[in-house]
């Protein structure tokens, strides 16, 4: 591979190869300040390749490949190369990560207590987590939450936050311009812009936190809070995990332990201010 970029994100190291320099330049810019994998050894390799050899130059088309691949994944145009790199990393985690229980969730931490925000895509958890990350909470991750199988601690995986459509403007008002990646238009999901977590999140990427609350946030409805039972939480979390089945008994142990130790709430909120207020209420209750 002509071009290479290596990056350590939390507990996971990536080696990313590309046939074109552009995507990796953008990636290096986005992950400014992140360390390189220790000893140069990566946990996963991502490859950005031309779909067919002649597509390297002619209407360049980026196929997302690597150690773990989705055979029918559609390639992206080169203009979206940064997105391809991010998707490539997601793919490796989703298909190959088996050291920790992987939850499709955002997580934030304050005073040693971690909140897990999980639910369907588009429910607003990513934006909520990013906002909390600018309001005194430490952003541990917006896409994947890593649960240690033995200790039950949540581990950071602070990838760049993937903001979509309206959320972009919301966060542009909150975070300094230098932390943003380019605005990518015309993606399958609309407009996307990536935001690097703040310095504290990056510096503390090696610090785990004990989960204290599981939230199922849902944007767009009148404010409401409902306790979620353990069995329902368990089931919803297995659905939110890409590797629960692959982990076998240790995964079962870790997840049942999480669900019995940590309360779960479903919250509906009509706007972010309400959500932030609710979270602050919860935090105070937990601290009491």
């Amino acid at each position: 591979m002509r071009h290479q970029f290596d990056v350590q994100i939390g507990a996971v190291g990536f080696r990313i190869g590309s046939a074109w320099p552009g995507p990796l330049d953008a990636l290096a810019d986005l992950y400014r300040g992140y360390p390189a994998p220790e000893g140069g050894i990566a946990d996963f390799t991502v490859r950005l390749e031309p779909e067919k050899p002649w597509r390297r130059f002619l209407r360049p088309s980026v196929a997302i490949r690597g150690d773990y691949v989705l055979p029918d994944a559609a390639p992206l145009p080169l203009a979206l190369g940064l997105l391809a790199a991010e998707m490539g990393m997601n793919l490796q985690m989703a298909l190959g990560q088996k050291n920790w229980l992987l939850l499709h969730a955002a997580s934030v931490e304050k005073d040693g207590r971690a909140l897990i925000l999980t639910g369907e895509s588009g429910a607003g958890k990513s934006t909520l987590a990013a906002l909390l990350g600018e309001r005194g909470w430490r952003l541990m991750g917006d896409e994947f939450a890593l649960l240690d199988l033995e200790s039950g601690m949540l581990l950071p995986f602070p990838r760049a936050v993937s903001l979509k459509n309206k959320a972009i403007a919301v966060m542009e008002a909150e975070a300094e311009a230098a932390r943003f990646g380019p605005r990518l238009a015309g993606t399958p999901k609309g407009d996307i812009r990536h935001l690097r977590p703040n310095r504290e999140a990056v510096e503390r990427m090696g610090e785990g936190a004990r989960p204290a609350l599981i939230l199922f946030p849902r944007f767009g409805a009148e404010a409401a809070v409902r306790a979620v039972g353990q069995a329902e939480t368990f089931m919803r979390l297995t659905q939110a995990s890409t590797n629960y089945v692959a982990l076998g008994e240790p995964g079962f142990t870790a997840l049942t332990r999480l669900v019995r130790a940590v309360p779960a709430l479903a919250i509906d909120y009509p706007d972010t201010a309400t959500a932030l207020g609710l979270v602050e209420d919860f935090r105070q209750e937990l601290a009491a």
Binding site: M1, I41, T45, R47, G96, N99, A246, G248
Partner: protein
């Protein structure tokens, strides 16, 4: 190009092979479905901490794949036991079920079983009754193609467990040139404690060789030859080599088996394959080692040659033309 060669050396001599580029080794191993085997072979070797974590995860994942494979076999056993027909496990599942050395770190995909041809209908009915379903889109071909020309039922998938089962009645397509003796495969099969069966060790090697050369374009070849290496070393003796030779001839696969052993010898030092290499062996070897340290397959020309060759072997030329024409017009 060197990464695949490094992988082969690391598998045969896990403690003595110097590794400078661990990323290349790991990516090549993952691409060749050999990361579990490599991790097991390297157990006990002092490796960098990141590599140790990767190997730990790979070993645990292997164990999980083993559990899943044996469970699929058990569920098939429960569904088919009332029929009273021999059910023979194939490939990775068989290695795990029989506790063979070839099972160490061996990844397993779908469940493959072999049953007598005349029992195919009854087997299909029993599987459907027990929760398996037909897979909808079978490579764009309809049912007829599968039943008439291929050597298996159309693939079935279990509706709850989402795992596939491939039911074979012989080990090569009936339309292919070599014509293995399915009856002999069954007659010589070995019973396991639970009533399921495996091929005899010699037939396992013959099957692996057939699968490698006649059934595909050498994809997964490094793993296939590793299987052969492990199998041969576990059962090796003068007697066994004579038996292996006899069985290979019986199944009209003497050429492929001999070539497989020669290649395994070149790659892994397998004892039975020593002897003069043919010129064509080099071509096969180059194809097998076409994986680089990024996990990519290089040497596209060789790959294309083997792709066409594999289809040519599966079907006589006229049929091949028809097959390619139908594919092109769909």
């Amino acid at each position: 190009m060197k990464a695949a060669g490094l992988l082969a050396r690391a598998l045969s001599d896990p403690h003595g092979t110097a590794i400078e580029d661990w990323n290349a080794l790991i990516s090549a191993a993952r691409a060749e479905q050999l990361i579990g085997s490599l991790a097991c072979r390297m157990e006990g070797r002092a490796v960098p901490p990141r590599v140790a974590a990767i190997f730990d995860a790979a070993r645990r994942d292997s164990a999980r794949q083993r559990t899943q494979a044996l469970w699929e076999a058990e569920m098939a056993r429960r569904a088919l036991a009332p029929l009273g027909v021999p059910v023979i496990l194939l490939k990775g599942t068989a290695f795990h079920a029989a506790g063979l050395e070839a099972s160490a770190g061996r990844s397993v995909g779908d469940l493959d079983i072999l049953v007598p041809r005349e029992s195919l209908d009854a087997v299909e009915a029993a599987l459907l009754a027990a929760g398996w379903e037909h897979v909808k889109d079978t490579k764009g071909y309809d049912d007829g193609y599968y039943r008439r020309w291929m050597h298996e039922l159309p693939p079935l998938i279990h509706r709850d467990r989402d795992r596939m089962i491939d039911v074979h009645h012989t080990i090569l397509p009936p339309t292919a040139r070599p014509s293995p003796d399915a009856g002999a495969l069954i007659a010589d099969s070995v019973a396991l404690e639970n009533g399921l069966r495996t091929l005899s060790p010699a037939d396992m090697i013959v099957h692996a060789a057939a699968h490698l050369f006649a059934d595909g374009d050498l994809a997964g070849g490094l793993r296939n030859l590793w299987d052969i290496d492990r199998l041969l070393r576990e059962f090796d003796s003068d007697d066994f080599r004579r038996t292996l030779d006899a069985r290979a001839r019986r199944h009209q696969l003497a050429g492929p088996v001999a070539r497989a052993l020669r290649l395994a010898h070149r790659l892994y030092g397998t004892p039975a394959g020593a002897g003069r290499a043919r010129l064509s062996d080099r071509l096969f070897e180059a194809r097998l080692l076409a994986r680089n340290g990024w996990g990519q397959e290089r040497r596209k020309l060789i790959r294309f040659f083997f792709y066409v060759r594999s289809h040519w072997l599966r079907m006589p030329p006229l049929m091949l033309a028809r097959h390619l024409w139908i594919k092109a017009t769909r």
